[in-house]
């Protein structure tokens, strides 16, 4: 069981790494809108820029 003395500190490093990843993911706004991106594919972008009709 002595291997635990090595494996647990290693897992701690892994946890730290994952924590940093999570921090990056949240900070970059990936969790701000969980519903919107699903609709992005149906949003057409081909509308001409809003020039008013006189």
């Amino acid at each position: 069981m002595e291997v635990l003395y090595l494996l647990i500190p290693l897992s701690l490093l892994l946890v730290l790494l994952i924590a940093c990843l999570l921090r990056w993911a949240i900070r970059s706004g990936q969790y701000d809108d969980l519903n919107g991106p699903a609709y992005r594919i149906v949003m057409d972008d081909d509308r001409p820029p809003d020039k008013e009709i006189d």
């Binding site: 069981m1 635990l4 003395y5 647990i8 897992s11 701690l12 946890v15 994952i18 924590a19 999570l22 921090r23 949240i26 900070r27 706004g29 969790y31 701000d32 809003d50 008013e52 009709i53 006189d54």
Partner: protein, 707 residues
Amino acid sequence: MVVNYSTHTAEVLWQPARLPLSHILAGIHELGFQAWPFHHKQKALQQTQAKRTALLHIGSAALFGMQVMMISIGLYFGAWNMAWDMDADMQRFLHWVAMLLTVPVMVYSGQSFFINAWRDLKNRSLSMDVPVVLGLTIAFIGSALATVSGRGEVYFDSICVLILLLLISRYFEFQTRLDANRHLEKLYRVKPDTANKITPAPADQTDADQTDANQIDVIPAIKLQPGDLILVYAGEHIPVDGVVMSGDSAVDEALLTGEARPVTKKAGDALIAGSTNMYAPLTVEVTAVGNNTRLQQILRLIEQGHQQKPRLTAIINRFAGGFVMAVILIACVTGVYWYLHDASSWLGVTIAVLVVTCPCALSLATPTAYTAANNAMLGRGVAVLGQNVLQALAAAQVFIFDKTGTLTTGEMQVSGLTLFSGLSKAHCLKLAASLEAKSDHQIARAIRAAADHGELLPTCNLVNHPGAGVTAKIDQCHYFLGSAAFINRQTGLLPEQDESAGDTLDETIGMEVFLTTSTAVLCAIGLEDYPRPGVGALVSYLNAQAKQTILLSGDRQRLVVAIGDKLGFDEAIGAQLPEGKLAYLQEKIDRGDMVVMVGDGINDAPALAVSPVSIAMGNGADISKLNADMILLNSDLMQITEAHQLARRFVRVLKQNILWAVGYNLLALPLAIAGILTPWLAAIGMSVSSLIVVLNSTRLARLRTTA
């Protein structure tokens, strides 16, 4: 200074000369809060930030907490399974690792609890965070000592579970509040910042090519004055209240009224700020700007309503302070008792007592339900302006309705045509419409609407007799249009009618005007003030609920009774002046009935003010002067059914919440004192009970009845 808890805003009135704003902000900061001058965009930014931080706290608590729990399982396994003898070194190593992992959970994820508790202690008040922090601190210090000394129990897993679950329930509460504000936020956001102002062409230019000659400037919307002309293109928001001068289009007012279908607008129709022009450009004359627009008035009323604290919440908050004190005392006594009797388990029991009895669920029970219910109401076009209205509405027994403008649209419509000559119906209507072409009276509009196909005939010598009728010449022939009495005076054609003889069915429904030449009666046109759609359904719904429905009106008794019978009212009382309505209402209230008064808000203002629950139509004159508790923004009476159902559901949820919160605490406390509840069980129980309360409240916002 007024603080709005659910929108997290405070309204401050100050004299800039004597006290700069920065001092106020600094003072608020000293109390332990952060304050910014209000701005909706900044607020949205803050909310995004707050949400991200909350997610990060939850995420790290979950991540580190999982590791701690995994290690705890190892420890438990070692303690139970005697076959595999965990040596003391390994056990100490695992304790140290668990402690190391708990530190970020405590310090980072749990920081908000410590900050809140510290702020409350500094202000000498006891909130629900205090026992939580006390429990966390005791548990951590006790476990840390055990880790260092190598003797005793550790509770790192319980700490992590408690922080994680509490954070989750707070996050849900935060989310509910955001949802509740989202509708309001939308209203704030729509106002466009600019408008296309039309400066009329100089007078010497010809009328041809008017639009080209007019100069159009894009100016900030706040610079508009009533009376200005603006051009609103299709797809644009309308920045101000106004009247359409020219153009035909439809306008989406869904934001304000909840009505999804666009409303057609033509010259002469009123527009409200915040609605969207759908199809074609409109030229609009500005009638109200800035704070005087309907949108702003409604927003102000709603905000004022939110500032009023629900009675129940105030009671519970006062109670919660004493409760926390009691919890801490009980925890102390329990701790001392167990320390004397069973020194090994005193720490665990004390932590369990502190954690399990925290009145979190109780504190969340009412505010979450209120915000969810108010939000659901607003989404259906019902603005709730008082905080204690919903309970009253749910308990209401008597519903009193005004007639004109409330049950009926207040707009006349042609209901029947009786011919007395060889002329066709269409021709009669065309003649009548031509006579009324220049008039803006309700009757004139109704007749014009009925004859809306075909060109009107040219008239000359048009004479309008206000309140009686019109006369004019068409094709060299003299025509008369007006009431029977008017025709009689003018032509002597219709015999003098005595009032009682006019008791025909037609007369009880509406009124009749006659079209005649100077020698012959051509036709009689029946006009009716139609009930709003949904009145019948509303009354039958209320009757099915065994509510008393009363029609109270200023119109003639006979008319009111007829309409009351037709629509199925229990009682119909006519010929009531505003004072009479007030006295009638007061009598009902004195008898102890829970009364709901529904009126259009103009002539019913006194009655609306007296009634425990008053519902006003949103199209009433000046909504800021309505003394109503609720406003039907789209004037759809069917919303009353929904509001009533929602209010009853709200009361049910409120009862469930309070019952659950109180029952849970009463049940868990003896168990914890007796030492049956372990700290981790207590942590789960307490946070899950808050979670249940919050989720139960969100049911109110989610449930959508078929509209």
